[in-house]
Each structure stands twice: as structure tokens, then as C-alpha cells.
């Protein structure tokens, strides 16, 4: 654990052979190679991973359904009942998931029907921001599990600015957002600093800082004069002033707020940073191979500090989106809502690439929005969504497994031998 865990950058988490440039020595028609790339490639794997995970979720739903177990009792008498019960429970669950996440046909009119989609985007907003933070750290070879702590600190900073000052519209919002991002960045920066100066492993430090932040915020929430709402005994903050709240993006009938625009901007920024800027190049170089980067004259320690500052800042934006967009009436210590951990799965699903994370965040936002609808209408606990999400990431992390399940060809036959040379130094 003393070495940084370096997830390979371009292909995301898996270390297995990656289907990139086809080898010139393959003696087969070109279209054959193209077919292999399509069915064995990473996009196909992602889709199949989602399918597999939904399938597993469906099995779980069917197995725990009361009607299914009743029908299974007389399976040999009337097997049709069992099949019908399974179909009812699984299709009912996934239909309500879809209606809660994308479009509800049962509601009158387009506005009411499309509302679930805007809910999805609202849930996706903090997920994308935090996912970008975690993904950025991945690209530098750092694993930021400290999303919870960074979000809490950011939420506290942004929240404090949002109710402590009376400022004009616009300026107040910008100041509150900036305060939150800076708070998250500093909390993440501690990790980078400790890693650079002392070699402390970032996984441990971020986990520990999560708890420190949680207890710090809990203490401040019940201490009058810090974060507690005046005149209240509950561990809850005052409401944000209306001047500091994100305005509605599509009008008052939807919950979607301007935080989503901020998140799109953040995605573009991270894309630019990683793919077009000098700093991003150094980040990626350190992520690929810190030793080579050091030899090339890049200050690895500085990159660790910058990366954790930026990562914490992006995760901080997620905390800001929570307190200035979603929960504006005062928050308690559960404001992070597990987004700091969900962000890890979002970043993995998006293969640590900005736009990949953006769409992964929307997918997980859809699961969240749909999960609540499913819980309300079908009585299936929302935890099933967590199961499906983690299965998706597990399957995506191991392309050979998905290929084996669907009996897909390997992306290109010759490539399999490549790890020998590439990983020779890894086993040294």
C-alpha cells in the first residue's frame, strides 16, 4: 500500500488487454477486425454490463417477491402462475423505474410526463461533479475516497456564506459557490500535501478525513453560533437566503436548477484541463508512470497536491449543488447523501473520462430518481439500485468476464500476448 495504486488511465480500471490499435500482423479481413472491435470493444462491454446487472437485479426482485414465492409453492400444478408472477414483479419494477427516471406516460401532458427526466438531471448534478473530482484523481493515480468529507466541508462553507451575508443576487451566489469549492479543495488538499510531504497513503487519509469532517460538522451543527440555526435545538442549519440559491433552470414546476449548468461547465473545464492543457499533460504523465514523469522533470509531489486540490474542489461543487440547489431549507450532517461514495462508481463507469463521467452520472441519477419512484409504487426497497450500480461497475471492471458470459470474441487475438512486455515492470 506504500505505492500509489495507479489505475491504468485510458482504459479505466481494468488492467486486462485493452482493445486499441489493431496489430498490423493480424491476418484477417479488415471488416472482421472492425466487427471484433464493435462487439468486443469497451462501449459494448459497458452496455452488456448494464444488461447483466439489470438481469441480476431482476432475479433478486423476483426471488424476494411474495407473489412469486406463493406461486412457486404450486409450480408443478400451475407453472404458468409462477412465470406470470415473475414477469409481473420484474416488469412492474423496471417499468416504474423507467417512469420515475425518464418519462411518465400515465401523467397528462408533456410537462408532467417529462418531469421525471428533470428529476434525473437534478439527481445527476452532484453525482457528475463529485464523479469528475474522483475521476480526475484517478487520472493522476490517486484514489479519492474522501468525497464525503470534502462534500460536508464544502456544504458547510457554502451554506455559511449563503445565510450569513446579505448580498445582491448574483454576487451572493458566486461567493457561496466559491466558498464551497475552496472549502472542498482545501480539505482535499490536505491529503495531497500529506502524500507529497510524508508519503501518507491517500486512501487511508481520505477515509480518516471523512470521519473527522463528519464529527466536525456534527459538532458545529449542535453548537449555537457556528452552523446551528438560531433559536433551534436541532442539529440543523438555517435556510439559505434566496439571493444565494441556484435559480430554477426550466421554471418553477421543475426542481432542476442552475447547478446543472455549473456541472456542464465543470465537465468542459476538466476535459480541457486533461486533454488540452500543460497541467493536464503532467497529471496524466504522473498517473501513467510517476517514475518516468519524475525523470522527465515533472514534480510528482506538486502534481499530487494540485490534483487533490482540484479533485476536492470538484467534489466540493457537489456539496454546493446539494445545499444551494437541492436542500435549500437548512441541512444536517447527512447532506452528502452517500454521493461521495457513489461518485467512485460513477467515475469508474465513466472510465475516468470527463464526458464518460457526465453520462455515467446521468445514468446513476436516473437510477436514483427511478429508485425512489419504484420504492413508492412497487414497494421494492431502493437498495436494489445500489446493488445494480455496484454490479455494473464490477462487470465493467472485468471485460473478460462479460465476454465470457456472452461468448464474445476477444477484441483482437494477437493483443492478448501484449501484457507480457507491458507488465514486466509491474511484477518486478
Amino acid at each position: 500500500m506504500s505505492q500509489p495504486t495507479v489505475p491504468p488511465v485510458d482504459s479505466g480500471p481494468p488492467v486486462a488487454s485493452s482493445p486499441q490499435k489493431p496489430d498490423a500482423s493480424i491476418a484477417e479481413p479488415r471488416w472482421h477486425g472492425v466487427m471484433r472491435e464493435i462487439v468486443g470493444g469497451s462501449a459494448m462491454i459497458s452496455v452488456l454490463a448494464v444488461v447483466l446487472a439489470m438481469l441480476a437485479g431482476g432475479i433478486l426482485i423476483a426471488l424476494t417477491d411474495d407473489k412469486v414465492s406463493t406461486a412457486a409453492g404450486y409450480f408443478f400444478a400451475r407453472p404458468g402462475d409462477l412465470i406470470k408472477a415473475v414477469w409481473d414483479s420484474v416488469s412492474g419494477a423496471y417499468t416504474s423505474l423507467f417512469q420515475g427516471a425518464v418519462y411518465n406516460f400515465r401523467r397528462p401532458g408533456f410537462i408532467a410526463g417529462i418531469k421525471p427526466l428533470t428529476e434525473t438531471l437534478t439527481f445527476a448534478t452532484p453525482l457528475i461533479a463529485a464523479g469528475l473530482g474522483v475521476g480526475l484523481a484517478f487520472r493522476v493515480g490517486l484514489f479519492n475516497i474522501g468525497g464525503r468529507g470534502q462534500m460536508l466541508i464544502a456544504a458547510a462553507c457554502a451554506g455559511w456564506v449563503s445565510w450569513s451575508f446579505e448580498l445582491p443576487y448574483g454576487l451572493h451566489l458566486i461567493l457561496a459557490v466559491a466558498a464551497g469549492i475552496i472549502g472542498g479543495a482545501l480539505w482535499g488538499g490536505i491529503v495531497g500535501l500529506l502524500k507529497a510531504r510524508t508519503g501518507a497513503h491517500e486512501v487511508i487519509v481520505t477515509i480518516m478525513l471523512n470521519f473527522v469532517a463528519l464529527y466536525l460538522i456534527s459538532f458545529m451543527l449542535k453548537t449555537p453560533g457556528l452552523l446551528q440555526a438560531p433559536g433551534s435545538n436541532n442539529p440543523k442549519t438555517p435556510a439559505a437566503l434566496p439571493t444565494a440559491v441556484f435559480p430554477d433552470l426550466l421554471g418553477p414546476q421543475f426542481n432542476l436548477h442552475w447547478g446543472f449548468i455549473f456541472v456542464i461547465a465543470a465537465t468542459i473545464y476538466v476535459w480541457y484541463l486533461l486533454n488540452r492543457s500543460n497541467l493536464g499533460f503532467q497529471f496524466r504523465a504522473v498517473g501513467e508512470n510517476p517514475n518516468a514523469a519524475r525523470v522527465a522533470g515533472i514534480s510528482v509531489n506538486k502534481m499530487y497536491i494540485y490534483a487533490m486540490l482540484l479533485s476536492g474542489g470538484l467534489v466540493g461543487l457537489a456539496g454546493v449543488a446539494q445545499v444551494l440547489g437541492t436542500v435549500t431549507t437548512g441541512f444536517s450532517s447527512g447532506i452528502d447523501a452517500g454521493i461521495g461514495f457513489d461518485a467512485i462508481t460513477v467515475a469508474l463507469l465513466g472510465r475516468s473520462k470527463p464526458w464518460g463521467i457526465f453520462f455515467a452520472g446521468i445514468l446513476f441519477g436516473a437510477f436514483k430518481a427511478g429508485g425512489f419512484a419504484m420504492q413508492a409504487s412497487e414497494g421494492i426497497p431502493i437498495d436494489i439500485v445500489v446493488v445494480i450500480q455496484s454490479l455494473i461497475v464490477l462487470f465493467i471492471a472485468a471485460p473478460p468476464l462479460v465476454r465470457a458470459v456472452f461468448r464474445l470474441p476477444k477484441p483482437s487475438g494477437v493483443k492478448l500476448r501484449r501484457p507480457r512486455t507491458q507488465t514486466a515492470e509491474a511484477t518486478k
Binding site: 480518516m208 464529527y215 461497475v393 511484477t427
Partner: protein, 434 residues
């Protein structure tokens, strides 16, 4: 440097061969840390000392041998102990200036004195029930120690085990259900181990067969197990609590060991426990012995330090890793059973509440050594129980800061105040046989 000594030698400058003696670097870390704590002691216990009398109740009502409660004047005791602390700090500074190492016992004595001084200060005008404090501390530590042992084995063989949390939770869930349905405690314990092994199988398969980053698999597994147990709890267990989650059937009885349980202070703390705790005592000893004194342990550590070398001499790296990670899962799963069978009885959503991560911290704080990791886990358990005891008697420190303490201590430890920690060399890296 032999493989056997590699991870330990690093931390003992005194065991460096004579030829290298001149390269020993003076480390002022210990005196500086002691100095900081001495200053805190002077401020807290002398300058801002509290008046009154601090009581320490040493025996419970049911004890065979009754020891009277110790009553100490708070400020005077604080001053005496602070003087001792300053003296120890000065002694360590003297040692370092003479190029002599600061031995472990000095650190231990310093920490104990500071603790007693702090307790005296916190208990001004009240009485601390020492056996209660320690019993609770052991109770909170048991799953941490099991988890830490699992972590040590797994990381020593070269697989980072972030999934301890998932193994604990799976063990807690399955043991509760099996023990409740069958009414057999033994079956509950065995199924808890099986559940931990199952989680380990996934971790091992993905990290050893598919070379997926081990930390990532671990994190995702934690999420998966949390989701799965929460889903099954809400969907299945809550509908039939009497059959599936009946705390009366699940909970294990306490088995006082005749004779030993009558020892003052230690008896009630260590020998009036459930069978799981007695298994723990055996497990710590066995893991320590096996890891450092048997062929199995040597091979395990060789695979974790230098898999290629181990492969060269004919050790099957993948198989060694796979089965030892499974073993680690079994141990951690047993720790999970303590949450349900050993303490509260019935299973609850996310009842491990981050214990797996604290166990992981204990592994690193304990420098991947089973005994040290056990001690670190005990320290964490003690700190969290101290917080609850102090909040009952009315502590001057906000409870959140006491809760924060183990995590801050770990950050300090990892950041090198205690000493730079170095894990098994190949831990976290997939071994791809060439």
C-alpha cells in the same frame, strides 16, 4: 536482508548490521511528539486544571474480590503526572542526542501516563467505572481485531483488502439469519465465515484472475454487500422477524471461565465473554505464530513481498493468494458475527457503520503485524468507548472530538509522526505470470 525480516527490519534502526551503523539517521520525531503532548498536558492539567476529586471504581458489584474505589485529588494528580510526562520527554530527547534509539516501552509508558492524567482531569467530581470502560472497549474492539487480522493476512499475501467492511457486514447478516432459523450457534458462526469467504472469493477472482485494481474491487464490494444486505433486510427480514431475525435465538450466552473470571479488573473484562471473544484470543495467537514461524507464513509473506521470486522457487502465486484471501475473509466474517450473535442479537441495516474501514486503519497503524494491528484495534475500540463513558459522566470535551480522536491519531501515524509505515512490497499489485 531475508524476506522473513524485510518488513520489520525497516522500523528498527537498532537491528541494522554493524557495517551500516553510521547511516542511522537521528530521528527527532519521538521527542518532538512527546514535547507537544507535554505542552498540552501542562496547559490542560496544570494551567487549566480542574478542582475536585476524581474517582476510579475498579471492581463491579458481582466480583469475588472487592477493591475499594480510588479517589485522587484532580489537580495534584495532574501536576504529578505532568511532571513525569515532561521528564520522559526530556529523557527521550537526551537519548536521541546521544544517538540512541527511543525504545517502544518509553512510548507506551508515556501514552499510558497521558491517558491516566487525561482521565483524572476528565473525571473531576465524578467516578469512572474502570471495568465498565474496559468491557465496553473490548466489546467494540472485537470486530475490529477480527477485521484487522483478516486485513493483515490478505495484505501480507499481496491483496489489498478494502472489502473488510463488506466481509463484516456479510458475516453479520448471514450469521443472524442462519442462527435465527436453525437456532444453532455453531451453524451461525460457520455460516458467518462462509459469508466472509464468499465476499473474498469475488475479491480474489476479480483481482487475481481478471487483474482488476484491488482497491476498486474492494470499494465496489463494500457497496454491493451494503446494498444487498439492506435490500434483503427491508424486503425479507422485516416481514418475518420472529423466524429470520429473532434476537433471542441469535444472541450467544456469556461463558465466564471458572477461576480466571474472578481476577480483579481483568476477569470481568477478558474472561466473562461470549465464545467469539475466546476464539479471538486463539486466532490472534495462531495468526501471529503461523505468519512468522511456519512454512505457510513464510510462503505467504514471500508472495506478498516478491511474487516473482516466490514463483521462481515454485510457489503457485495465484493459488496462494486465492486461498489466503479466502482465509482472511473467513476471519473477518467471524468478526461480523460478533455484531449480531455477540452483542445486539438482531441484524440491522448497515450495522457495521464503518468498522471495516477502522480495521483497515488498524492494519496500517499496526504496520501489517498481527499483534500490533490487534493493539491498534484495541486502542480504537477504547477511544470510542471512552467517549461514551465520558459523555455519561459529563465530560468537558465535546463527544465529537473524542470520536474524532482515533482518526486523527491514524492520520498522524500514517503521516509519519510515529514512523513511516511500509506495507508488503507487492501488496496491491496484480501478478501476471510471464
Amino acid at each position: 536482508m531475508t524476506i522473513q525480516d524485510a518488513p520489520l527490519q525497516h522500523n528498527h534502526p537498532d537491528s541494522v548490521p554493524p557495517a551500516l551503523e553510521k547511516t542511522v539517521v537521528k530521528s527527532w520525531k519521538a521527542p518532538i511528539a512527546f514535547g507537544i503532548f507535554s505542552i498540552i498536558a501542562i496547559l490542560l492539567f496544570v494551567v487549566f486544571g480542574r478542582e475536585g476529586v476524581s474517582g476510579f471504581r475498579l471492581s463491579t458489584d458481582s466480583d469475588f474480590v472487592q477493591i475499594p474505589t480510588i479517589e485522587a485529588p484532580t489537580r495534584a494528580t495532574g501536576i504529578v503526572l505532568t511532571v513525569l510526562l515532561v521528564a520522559l520527554a526530556a529523557y527521550s530527547a537526551f537519548l536521541v542526542s546521544r544517538n540512541r534509539p527511543v525504545r517502544l516501552w518509553i512510548t507506551v509508558v508515556f501514552a499510558l501516563l497521558f491517558l491516566v492524567a487525561f482521565l483524572t482531569w476528565a473525571a473531576a467530581g465524578a467516578t469512572i467505572p474502570v471495568p465498565g470502560l474496559l468491557v465496553g472497549a473490548v466489546g467494540l474492539s472485537v470486530p475490529l481485531v477480527f477485521g484487522a487480522l483478516g486485513g493483515v493476512i490478505s495484505e501480507r499475501v499481496g491483496v489489498v483488502n478494502v472489502a473488510i467492511e463488506g466481509q463484516l457486514l456479510a458475516g453479520a447478516f448471514v450469521s443472524a439469519v442462519v442462527a435465527s432459523v436453525t437456532g444453532q450457534a455453531v451453524l451461525g458462526l460457520i455460516s458467518a465465515m462462509a459469508a466472509g469467504v464468499l465476499v473474498s472469493f469475488v475479491l480474489a477472482a476479480f483481482s487475481i484472475k481478471y487483474f482488476v485494481d484491488q482497491v476498486i474491487v474492494g470499494v465496489v464490494l463494500n457497496v454491493l454487500v451494503t446494498g444487498l444486505t439492506s435490500f434483503l433486510y427491508s424486503q425479507v427480514l422485516t416481514k418475518n422477524t420472529d423466524l429470520l431475525n429473532n434476537s433471542a435465538t441469535i444472541r450467544l450466552p456469556r461463558l465466564p471461565i471458572p477461576g480466571l473470571s474472578e481476577i480483579p479488573i481483568l476477569g470481568p473484562v477478558l474472561f466473562r465473554q461470549t465464545i467469539i471473544v475466546y476464539i479471538l484470543y486463539v486466532a490472534v495467537a495462531v495468526v501471529f505464530f503461523a505468519l512468522f514461524k511456519t512454512r505457510w507464513g513464510l510462503r505467504l509473506r514471500a508472495v506478498g513481498e516478491h511474487p516473482q521470486a516466490a514463483d521462481t522457487v515454485g510457489i503457485n502465486v495465484a493459488r496462494t493468494r486465492f486461498w489466503n484471501v479466502s482465509l482472511a475473509g473467513a476471519i473477518a466474517g467471524l468478526g461480523g458475527a460478533y455484531f449480531t450473535m455477540g452483542s445486539v442479537g438482531s441484524f440491522n441495516k448497515e450495522m457495521t457503520a464503518g468498522a471495516g474501514f477502522i480495521a483497515l486503519a488498524a492494519v496500517i497503524f499496526g504496520r501489517w503485524d498481527p499483534i500490533r494491528a490487534t493493539l491498534a484495534a484495541l486502542l480504537f475500540g477504547f477511544a470510542s468507548n471512552l467517549q461514551s463513558v465520558l459523555s455519561i459522566i459529563g465530560s468537558p470535551v465535546p463527544s465529537e472530538f473524542m470520536l474524532m480522536l482515533p482518526y486523527l491519531v491514524t492520520i498522524f501515524a500514517v503521516a509519519g509522526v510515529v514512523g513511516r509505515v511500509r506495507g508488503p512490497a507487492a501488496s496491491g499489485k496484480a501478478y501476471i505470470k510471464s
